[in-house]
Symmetry: C2
Subunit: 242 residues, 2 copies
């Protein structure tokens, strides 16, 4: 579990040409990402851009009522803080650590200097942004049309892809917050998957036993997001991951 962190663990950083990384490297700061840490709140001016290595961050929208819904999820395949280079400097969502680990961060100002050189960094970030857009769009569709059972499968797969191994530390309560449903709904869905032998779990630790089955039980949304992400960011394609 305790791999020595390296910027190369983040697929975006690993994709950048050497000279770009070398310019960025002195400004990369390794930070610990404990579960529940809020990177930024809705409306906050973003100070840093984060590149997760082995952590996962959710972009979560929290409504006036307190109810929430996950908009998208970012791991070592991406970056948190696209609003910085998109020009808005803030977003209407919250970025919160969903799975503990580490990340590298850069001051927004430094990052924008590199972005504004209009080189590889710019194009890579734009492609990543499109992948993010795809994920958001698919979330919208999934929320409209699919059952909790299917959505849980999709969510587990998306999270699993961003971790090594087949375990994830996550209570049903937290998953419910992400999906924007009741905790009881997740309990039921998880129970079904357990009875089918697809997953095991106890007190916040989920182990996937039959990933193939999980994929077949998921709605099409997972596959759509995955293939589109692989298309846009070949660096994330399975055969290239480390």
């Amino acid at each position: 579990m305790s791999v020595t962190p390296s910027p190369q663990q983040n697929h975006l950083l690993a994709t950048l040409p050497r000279e770009v990384v070398e310019r960025l490297l002195p400004h990369l700061e390794l930070v610990d990402m404990p579960l529940g840490m809020v990177l930024y709140e809705s409306g906050d001016t973003l100070r840093h851009v984060y590149f997760p290595t082995d952590s996962i961050v959710s972009l979560l929208y929290v409504m006036e009522s307190g109810a929430s819904a996950e908009i998208s999820v970012v791991g070592n395949d991406g970056v948190i803080g696209v609003a910085l280079f998109m020009g808005g400097e803030s977003t209407t969502s919250r970025a919160i650590v969903q799975s503990a680990g580490s990340a590298y961060r850069v001051l927004g100002k430094r990052f924008k200097e590199e972005f504004n050189r209009h080189g590889e960094m710019l194009h890579l970030m734009l492609r990543y942004s499109q992948a993010l857009i795809t994920q958001m769009a698919q979330t919208a569709v999934c929320n409209r049309h699919h059952s909790i059972d299917q959505q849980l499968c999709r969510w587990l797969l998306l999270s699993l892809d961003r971790l090594s191994g087949s375990q994830l530390a996550m209570t049903q309560e937290l998953i419910a917050n992400m999906l924007g449903v009741r905790r009881e709904g997740v309990t039921e869905a998880a129970g079904k998957l357990h009875r089918l032998g697809v997953i095991d779990y106890s007190r916040g630790l989920i182990t996937v036993r039959d990933r193939e089955r999980l994929e077949s039980l998921s709605c099409e949304c997972y596959a759509v997001v995955k293939s589109e992400t692989d298309r846009l960011l070949p660096c994330n394609a399975p055969h290239l991951t480390h």
Copy 2:
């Protein structure tokens, strides 16, 4: 209804500095946008970028089953084809004309030349993209948590903002496709609004009688999208529109 079309009717084009517009102008082609016209299909390589003047275009996701859901809506406040400059060249959604009118279009290649000069165009497009992202995120949340009644209000308001006047030509069947719900659900919701004196309608023509009331009946999603769009693209702020 028959205003002479001018590129300035599109707020993005109207915002660009004169020299940018002058470079673009010779390549702008005025096109008719009849209801139901498909600008591109999921997976298509985009050939043009479209700037609506008085038409409205929906970005619609169509599932394997045929069910659909609107991801976002674009009018004279925006542009269709962000995937071109984001680098993906295609998207997983369909762009379809939801309200007939006109638009100016540019060949993707020409457009990218201007975008790659890294001037005003680039920054404006990125800001618009963030506004689009906000709208998608809010759609996801709204699909999860709000009733058809509320969503219909939001949808009417978003459409109305992109048209002049207080009428929109739109059957309940079409609205249902956009919202991703049954036509009967829309009939019921529209019936309620009618009984409250908020809207009138008959055979595909909706007239908003009490816009203020409509806003109060809508969920928070409309206001969030509106204020964030105004923040990101001040050119769209009410006092500046023509």
